[in-house]
Assembly symmetry: C2
Homo-oligomer: 124 residues x 2
């Protein structure tokens, strides 16, 4: 879902522009967070499966996997118009660290931080 780093377009007109080099850095952070999250889901699915001892546990595992797949699909969206929000959520959920974001330009980090703050306030 890679798009050219043009100025944010409809419906995200205020989205900052991401240059190619910034997108390369963003891709590294994004892929690392996705890999970590998938690893967690794999470990939890293995634990859940190991503990199955009645049919209801089986369908709980199915439900867990379906929810995780949908959540991951909607969360990890690499379109330029979504990156601030995506990283904001990853920062809010501690799936990406301030340290990782350091490679990005200051305007991006600020926007991501402010998005993370808004999300954590919404969740509170």
């Amino acid at each position: 879902m890679t798009q050219p780093a043009t100025q944010g377009t409809y419906p995200y007109p205020d989205e900052p522009t991401w240059s190619s080099s910034e997108k390369a850095i963003a891709r590294t952070i994004f892929d690392a967070a996705l890999k970590r999250e998938l690893y967690e889901v794999i470990q939890k699915a293995k634990r859940m499966a190991n503990q199955i001892n009645k049919p209801a546990d089986l369908w709980d595992l199915e439900l867990y996997l379906t929810q995780q797949r949908k959540d991951i699909d909607s969360k990890y969206d690499f379109r330029s118009s979504r990156l601030t929000r995506v990283f904001g959520r990853l920062l809010c959920e501690r799936r990406a660290s301030e340290e990782e974001l350091r490679g990005l330009r200051q305007d991006k980090v600020k926007a991501i931080r402010s998005c993370a703050k808004a999300l954590s306030e919404d969740a509170a």
Copy 2:
């Protein structure tokens, strides 16, 4: 989904009547087959989960569980109007044995056998 053992009604007018005592026998066979099938699914899900080593394996497990849940939901239907078909399928899939069916009246066994035969011919 227990119904009174009345003569088969719309849309299954030719379905034989199942008396209460026959339904009790049918229930035992039905429950045993369901229990065996669920046990198989649990064992396979545990094996699949143990062997997960990439995200695609995770979603293969989800798909397997969803398919099994739907298949089991549609297969195990204890309404009188469906029992011949249900046991026909269980016999065809070797999930219920001729020996187990022996407790039922001869007309039922004949109808179940003929249904199993038709299903195995369809599958061939």
